[in-house]
Amino acid sequence: MDKSEVQDFIAKRVAKELTDNSVVNLGIGLPTRVANFIPSGITVHFQSENGFVGLGPAPAPEDVDPNIVNAGGQPVTILPGGCFFDSATSFGIIRGGHVDLTVLGALQVDEEGNIANYLIPGKLVPGMGGAMDLLSGAKKVIVAMEHTVKGAPKILKRCNLPLTAAGAVDLIITEMGVIEVTTDGLRLKEINPQYTMQQVQEATEAVLIVDEGLGVMC
């Protein structure tokens, strides 16, 4: 699989976590792809933190309304039944527990569910945007990311980059498997059959507990 296929594979698996009538916020990058794989028969209301619910797909170039953009500043659409609001309301929705699920990328995640995804001191300082609020307020947090970066593990015993939130992550989905954050540690719930258990563990710094009902990721 090339990089794009890997991201689609991850996004497709994340989409299986979507539930009917839920309010969902997708982060920029890989998580955005989840919207392409919504299971049939399910209605999901996507929230855009710059101020609306009912986020629709990107418009054809001739249909672009410059007044409607997503949180990355890209032209998007709003679906029938959606609504616009200001930033205070938007983050009331986010912090107040009215977002059922958020899907975010990460630089690092650890066995306590800590996540780092906004700052590499001296190197990358984009800012946290809405990520800290989403992590503290959404009912469920899924990290969707490639398992390693340049071969180095991103799932660690302890994050060493500045945290975006402590103890916030519920589920980690990578091209290698599906990992649940539990009080006992990281539990491997599903494995991509392209990899052996040993390969997955070697690509992970934290110790993985293999779930007794280990499933096949597809």
């Binding site: 410059p66 616009f84 200001d86 300082v125 945007g129 609020d133 503290s136």
Partner: protein, 220 residues
Amino acid sequence: MSKLISIQQAVDMIPNGAVVMFGGFMANGSAEGVIDALVAKDVKNLTIICNDSGLIDKGVGKLIVNKQCAKLIATHIGLNKETGRQMTAGELIVDLVPQGTLAEQIRCGGYGLGGVLTRTGLGTLVEEGKQKVDVDGITYLLEKPLRADFAVIFGSVVDKNGNIAYHGSTNNFNNVMAAAADITIVEAQQVVEIGQLHPNHVTTPGVFVNYIVDRGECSG
């Protein structure tokens, strides 16, 4: 007295060293005409409060590129490389704030509140130097109000009382910022007569707005 003023009158009010809130999110819903006039006037040492630092050629990004900003309070600066460069070079102070926290700090500043308690930022660098408050066994961070000398905001349709309606996602920070400055200037995409904007369609009450600039003039 009419709230409608020229763009030149608007920028004449804003001196060097002013603290200015700018509405807009990645330059969507941003007062581009007033920002262009501020670039032309070359006002210096501004403290800018804005969701982000725009793009190099859009929104408050133009003020940053022109080195008119001494301090920036924002949530995200990733789409304007010049902001990061100036920060690393020590030319610009940047305070990064979580987006929901920034919105609430501004809301508190405008709505007569002494601060807000939030769990956002607990266990991160954001909590450094801040008071923690326990309420019924839950720990929160105390985030203090933010105010500015000026708010420079955008409205899609503005009546001559300053009542504002927004199109699309252009509202974002404009509505909360309207209340949180000593002087609020709205750049209107369209100015209409009193009575032409239905009271139920107004999002930002005109009582928060001191002056209106007609964008028609800005682009002319």
